[in-house]
């Protein structure tokens, strides 16, 4: 049996990038903090661009712990939502078409979130990646790590549980 000819790479990239842009762009608070995402295949990296308004203590100065904690929560939720979107887009069909036409998925809801502040956040860009350690039908567990200049020296880490939206709600 002959394999169907794969789609051109630009078509695939465009579709995936558009889906990610739509997911991130739909959440006002992500834009408020200035968080963006970079994609390599299905892997996401959150970027918190430095902004004076995200400073907590102006004397140090350091990023507000609430902002860096929020950054990790955003990264965790986006990772979860992205994993749902990815699966649906890649498997094709009506649901993929709906998403491509600008349809949204319901977002996972935070049940609990524990943040571990390892170092103070320096006044420059920060990065974060999340790993889904359990992905169940009802809830998911996610670990997130944030770093700045040095990938091997995270300045913040977090773990959280999230209630997954029901598939039939979209």
């Amino acid at each position: 049996m002959a394999r169907p000819k794969p789609e051109p790479v630009q078509v695939i990239k465009k579709r995936r990038d558009a889906a990610l842009r739509q997911l991130v762009g739909a959440v006002p608070y992500i834009g408020f903090l200035g968080v963006t995402f970079e994609r390599r295949g299905d892997e996401l990296t959150g970027i918190l661009a430095y902004d004076e308004k995200n400073i907590g203590n102006p004397l140090l100065p350091a990023l507000h712990g609430g902002v860096t904690g929020a950054f990790l929560e955003i990264t965790a939720i986006t990772e979860l939502a992205w994993s749902m979107i990815w699966e649906r887009i890649e498997s094709g069909g009506e649901e993929a078409e709906r998403l491509e036409a600008g349809g949204m998925v319901s977002l996972p809801r935070t049940i609990d979130f524990t943040v571990d502040y390892l170092r103070s956040g320096l006044p420059r860009d920060a990065y974060a990646r999340a790993r889904i350690t359990r992905s169940g039908r009802r809830y998911a567990s996610v670990q997130v790590e944030g770093w700045q200049d040095n990938r091997d020296k995270p300045f913040i880490q977090a773990t959280g549980h999230f209630m997954m939206p029901r598939f039939d709600r979209g």
Partner: protein, 150 residues
Amino acid sequence: MSTFDLEKRIELARGFIGALPHAQALGMEFVSMALAEAVLRVPYHPQLVGDPETGVMHGGVITTLLDTCCGTAVMLHPTNALVTATMDLRIDYMRAASPGLAVSARAECYHTTRNVGFVRATAFEAEDESAVVATASGAFIIDRATEGAA
């Protein structure tokens, strides 16, 4: 020995939090301050929405509110911290805050050791402390002035 003057401390805490750029960006307000206790509030704003489907504020806003409120409670504890930094903060979400309503937080620093302040806090809707949105507990590192200094 340094002495603890609550009125002065409250004034200091107000000045300090009023100067936090991110607290300003959120429009964070003081509600009340007392011994080892603080109540702060963030008004609802469409920019802070985390779920476009429901219009509910993002959990990150509540994290920032709780973190700031807990840190303030440590500063208002008679242990006389000079500076405090969050070491660990756990937040449990009871339910989503109603869209359109402010979220407030009350934090209490219930114990301190030489280097650590332990805090618990509750986030609730507007002025209704029975409408609990989230609870939190945290540990804060306490920095003190050099021994013997005022």
